[in-house]
Amino acid sequence: MLKFLKKELILSLALLLALTACARKPESPLSPSVKIGVEKKGEDKIFAVNFTCGLKNENDCTAFTNINGVIEVKNNSSEILLTVPFKIPAILPFETGIVQERIELTADEASPLLDLLAIKKEQIESGEDQGNRFIEDRNIVIKKLDLEKKDIIELLRSKLK
């Protein structure tokens, strides 16, 4: 019986260690949205896409630092319409890091994105449509997410020195 208990205890401890070692990374962007406007760049017209979303750190004791990632916006056929590289210095526990990036697209590059978001070029150019749209969850994905996980106590202690 003691042998049986020993095995159970080892398994429980291993499970506990595995659970505490694995801090949860953000799985999807929160409230992703874009504001698309037309601007003049020299002779050409460009479409300036201001992308915004949140990345939540749901861990209670793990902070994320040096966050470096790529978010992709895809249409319903999984074709990539917009690639957003981003960097965030830190997301503390229970906090939401904000991704705010400006991407410039040519008229040809912007066209499929405008179709997905049901935006008409003419209405943006005339100012009739402000170009603000939320992106549906099925059309957005975190393609890459590199980050450093740090224990919050160690991180704060390093700031006190």
Binding site: E58, C61, L92, P93, F94, L160
Partner: protein, 142 residues
Amino acid sequence: MKKINDTKIYLSIIIAPLVIAAAIGGVSLYSKLVVEPKAKTLISSETTMKEGYLVLREPQIFGGYKYWDSDGMAVKNSLRYFDKKLFNGGEITSDERIYLELILKRRISGSELGIKSAFFLLIVSLAGFIAYIIEIRKGKSI
């Protein structure tokens, strides 16, 4: 009919809760006797408040900070506030002591729950011990 020997079952009822009670009780008593008085002393002075917060930032096993109960929400907001403040090099003022006390209260509740749980497990273990003695006596009388 052959008498079934239940002593192995009773032994497991004695040992398993006893081991868990020792682990939970030990951690909770350590928190009550060492960590909580230390944190209380540190947060009582403005010069050591930051150090006190770091002591409290490590959650007690039964007073985790990720749970979504009503008290947990207030503690979570306090942690978010102080984490951000210390990360950006800010100071904790005496006006904010009330929020540190809120976190300390969470820790105290956690350790009390741990001690009560350990006590309950000890009773289970004791019940198993009594049943074990009865079983042995029955075995001898047959």
